[in-house]
Symmetry: C2
Subunit: 205 residues, 2 copies
Amino acid sequence: MMDGVSEEAGTKRRGRRPGGGDTRAALIDAARGVFAESGYDGATVRGIAQRAGVDAAMVNHWFGSKEGLFAEAVLQLPFTPHELVGELLEGDVDTLGERLVRRFLGIWDSAGGGTFAAIVRSVASHEQATHVLRDFFIRYVFSEVLRSTGSDQQLFRATLAASQMIGLGMVRYVAKFEPLASADVDTVVTAIAPNLQRYLTGDIS
Amino acid sequence: MMDGVSEEAGTKRRGRRPGGGDTRAALIDAARGVFAESGYDGATVRGIAQRAGVDAAMVNHWFGSKEGLFAEAVLQLPFTPHELVGELLEGDVDTLGERLVRRFLGIWDSAGGGTFAAIVRSVASHEQATHVLRDFFIRYVFSEVLRSTGSDQQLFRATLAASQMIGLGMVRYVAKFEPLASADVDTVVTAIAPNLQRYLTGDIS
């Protein structure tokens, strides 16, 4: 996948940095700025590479794609949304809510919740950051997951599911309300998964 | 109710401002600072009045109590938590979730969501603001409401309910994910109330 990359763009660029760790770090820095300014869809691989002063092919070399760069630079996830969705869809649709809550906790708990708090701070202070979140969570995660359910009103359901997961993140990692903030994973999954499942496949109207 | 106010404190104060609109505005300003620094429980009527340079009795004169001052200064609510809880408890416990979602939307929708966004920004950037939110929502609203249900694990339920309501606020007023952001009140109540009701009175373990 070489979206947004062309030979012509490559040859026009000047003052490229050499490959390696510096390039990778420069791309992550540049990506954070460009995604925050332009949203996920508005950001291009070419624009990010240009800001980093490296060849656009380096994005694909280091991150596989724009999606991979976003996952690592902004969400600090060790996988792409595509991989996450693929993993969530393995299993019965009736237990999708459970897998989502468990996976979400697995990701953010292991990061100490700092990443989630950073994203919320960014959303609360920059209008543009909300576009990134919307593109990513609604379009690339929840909508993709919902496609497998055959449910009606999939976009509404996606935003309902997002309300629960974002609220869980706020209470567990940002506001830290006890006992939900330190409850063990199984306790949280048992309490929240049925509610998420209703948003995904239940009667909501 | 004259909590935190004594004659002695009153006579010691100096440089009081005259009563009236100035006093009211000064108290609101002072209250925002003191609540943010000390949390709800740590803030005293005396401390707020002192910072405003007015007599502590003015808090009760203008706002009824510390609770009323907090509701108006920080949450910009036209009622106290005590009044809110009293209102929510009027009716069947099986429809408590519905009343909570409807009342919450009534408050924040009419304020244009700006107040909710301001509270989130404050929570995301100041550790102390989370104490205020926790004191207020968990202790003075959700825990009070739950007391009427006879449910088990009331504090855990209170934090679960908070996760849904804070997430709803985030999606509707801060991140503005459509279609949830502009859905009419009845549509949102129908979709979310059963989930909130499960947190309040359903089987969660």
